[in-house]
C-alpha cells in the first residue's frame, strides 16, 4: 500500500505539487492524469524516492520513504518496477544486459536462472530473440516493451509507469495497455500509471486522479471522470482547449 500525506514539492519559485493526499491500495491500478507540467512525473519520482519532497510524507508498505538513506531505499526499490517514458534503456548495453543488470544486483539467481528470467520477461512483452540487440536498434514501441520487461523481471509488487503509451501508434498503444492489464490481472501487482491518454485510463485503471494546479482536482473511477460536469475535468477528457 502507498500512502501520501500533505505532499508538496517546488523547484525554486515554481510550486509543482501542493498538499497532496491520497493512498493506493494493494492490487489497485491508479492512473494519474493531468496536463503537461502538472507534476505527474515529479509525483511518481517522489513515490520511488528519486525526488525528495519539500513537505509531507510518503509511506510504501507502511515504511516512511522520505527519511530513508540509500541502503533503505534500495530495499524498497527492489520491490518496485519502474517503466520510464522513453524506456531509459542503457545505451551501452544490449537488451539482455539491460534486463539482467537488475537481476544480478537485486537477486541471488544463478547465471542460468538469470538467462531464463530474461527470456521469460522478454516473452511476456512479445520481444523474444532481441537479447543481443542494442537499444539504438529498437523502435520507440520496442524500447517501451523492453523497459516493461526490465521492470517486471525482478517480479515487483509495484509497477510504476511513466507515460507508457505516449507517442505510440494506436495499435502499439493497445498492445501496451493489454500488457499492463495482463500484469494487473495477476492480482499481485499494484500499478501507478502516469498518462495523458484517456484511452489508457479507460482500458487499465480502476481509479483515476487528475492533477491540476499542483492539487488533486479529481479522484474517482474512470467512468466518473468521463461523466464529470467539472469544466477542468471535461477539458482534459475531451481535449477541448476552449472550455476553461
Amino acid at each position: 500500500m502507498i500512502e501520501v500525506k500533505n505532499l508538496s514539492k517546488s523547484f525554486g519559485e515554481k510550486g509543482v505539487l501542493s498538499d497532496l493526499n491520497f493512498s493506493v491500495s494493494h492490487g489497485q491500478s491508479v492512473a494519474i492524469v493531468g496536463k503537461s507540467g502538472a507534476g505527474k512525473s515529479v509525483l511518481l519520482k517522489c513515490l520511488i524516492g528519486l525526488v525528495k519532497p519539500d513537505e509531507g510524507t510518503i509511506y510504501v508498505d507502511n515504511k516512511l520513504i522520505n527519511s530513508m538513506n540509500f541502503g533503505q531505499l534500495q530495499e524498497i526499490r527492489s520491490n518496485i518496477g519502474m517503466v520510464f517514458q522513453f524506456g531509459a534503456l542503457f545505451d551501452s548495453m544490449t537488451v539482455g544486459e539491460n534486463i539482467s543488470l537488475a537481476l544480478q544486483k537485486l537477486t541471488k539467481l544463478s547465471s542460468d536462472e538469470i538467462k531464463e528470467r530474461v527470456y521469460n520477461s522478454l516473452e511476456e512483452v512479445d520481444m523474444v530473440n532481441t537479447e543481443d540487440l542494442m537499444p539504438s536498434e529498437l523502435s520507440g514501441g520496442m524500447k517501451k516493451r523492453v523497459g516493461i520487461a526490465r521492470a517486471i523481471a525482478i517480479k515487483p509488487a509495484y509497477l510504476f509507469y511513466d507515460e507508457p503509451t505516449t507517442g505510440l501508434d494506436p495499435v502499439m498503444t493497445d498492445s501496451i495497455n493489454r500488457l499492463i492489464l495482463k500484469f494487473q490481472d495477476t492480482g499481485e501487482v499494484t500499478s501507478v500509471i502516469i498518462t495523458h491518454e484517456m484511452r489508457t485510463v479507460y482500458d487499465v485503471a480502476d481509479r483515476v486522479l487528475l492533477l491540476h494546479g499542483g492539487e488533486i482536482w479529481f479522484d474517482g473511477r474512470p467512468e466518473e471522470i468521463k461523466n464529470s460536469d467539472d469544466l477542468v475535468v471535461q477539458q482534459f477528457v475531451t481535449g477541448n482547449s476552449t472550455l476553461v
Binding site: 517514458q85 522513453f86 534503456l89 542503457f90 545505451d91
Partner: protein
Amino acid sequence: MFRFLFYPANLLIDSLEGVGRYVELMASMFRSIFSWHKYLSLTIDHLFHIGVLSIPIVILTSLFSGMVTSVQAAYQFESGFVPNWFVGSIVGESVLLELAPMMTALVMTGRIGATIAAEIGTMRVSEQIDALESLSFDPVSFLILPRILAAAIMFPVLIIIADCFGIIGGLFAAVNAMDVSSLEFIRGLRNWFRPFDAWFGLIKGLFFGVAITSIACYQGYYTSGGATGVGKSTTATVVISCVAIVFLDYILAAILL
C-alpha cells in the same frame, strides 16, 4: 541593465554553488571507494577506453612535441655559444617535466573529458541515471568511481608512453635537422637527467587524470536541459579542465620542485 550589474555577483554565487556540489559529489565518490571491487569489470572497461584507445593520439602528440622542442632548441643554439649536445638535455627535461604531462592532459581533455561529460549528460537527460537508481544502483559508484579509478591508473601509464615518444621525436628531429649525433643527444639527455623529473611527470599525470575525469563526471551528472544541456556540459568540461590543468601545473611545480 540590472541584470548586467548583478552578473558578477550571480556568477560568483553560481561558481561557489558549483564548487560545493562538486565537493559533495567527490565526497560521495570517495565514500564508495571501498566497494571498488564490485565495479572491477566496469573499471577494466574504462581502463581500455580511457587508456588503451588513447595510446595512438598520445604517441602522435608527444612525438611532434618532442620534435618541435628539438628544432626550437637547435634554432636557439645557432649562435654557437651552447654545445649542440645540450639539445638532448633540453628535450629530456622539457618532455619529462612539462610537455608529456601537459600535452597528454590537454589531448585527453578533448578525447576523454568531453566523451565522459557527453555520455553521463545524455544518461541524465534520457533518465538512464534515474533508471539506475530505481534499480537500486548507486549512480555515483556505478558511473563515476570506475571512470576516476581508471583515469588515476591509466594517466601515469600514458605519461610514460608520452615521455618515451617525446624523447624519440626529439632525437629524430635533432639527428635530422641539425648536426647532432644520436650519441651526443643521449649524452645531453643523461647529463641533466634526475629520476625525480620522471616521477614529477607521473605525479602530475595522476592529478590531471583525476581532475579531468572528475570535472567531466560532475558536469555530466548535473546536466539538465536536453541536447543543449549536454552540449553546454561538454563545453564546460573542456574549458574548466584546461583551466584546472594549468592551475594544478603551477601548484604542483610550486610545491614539488
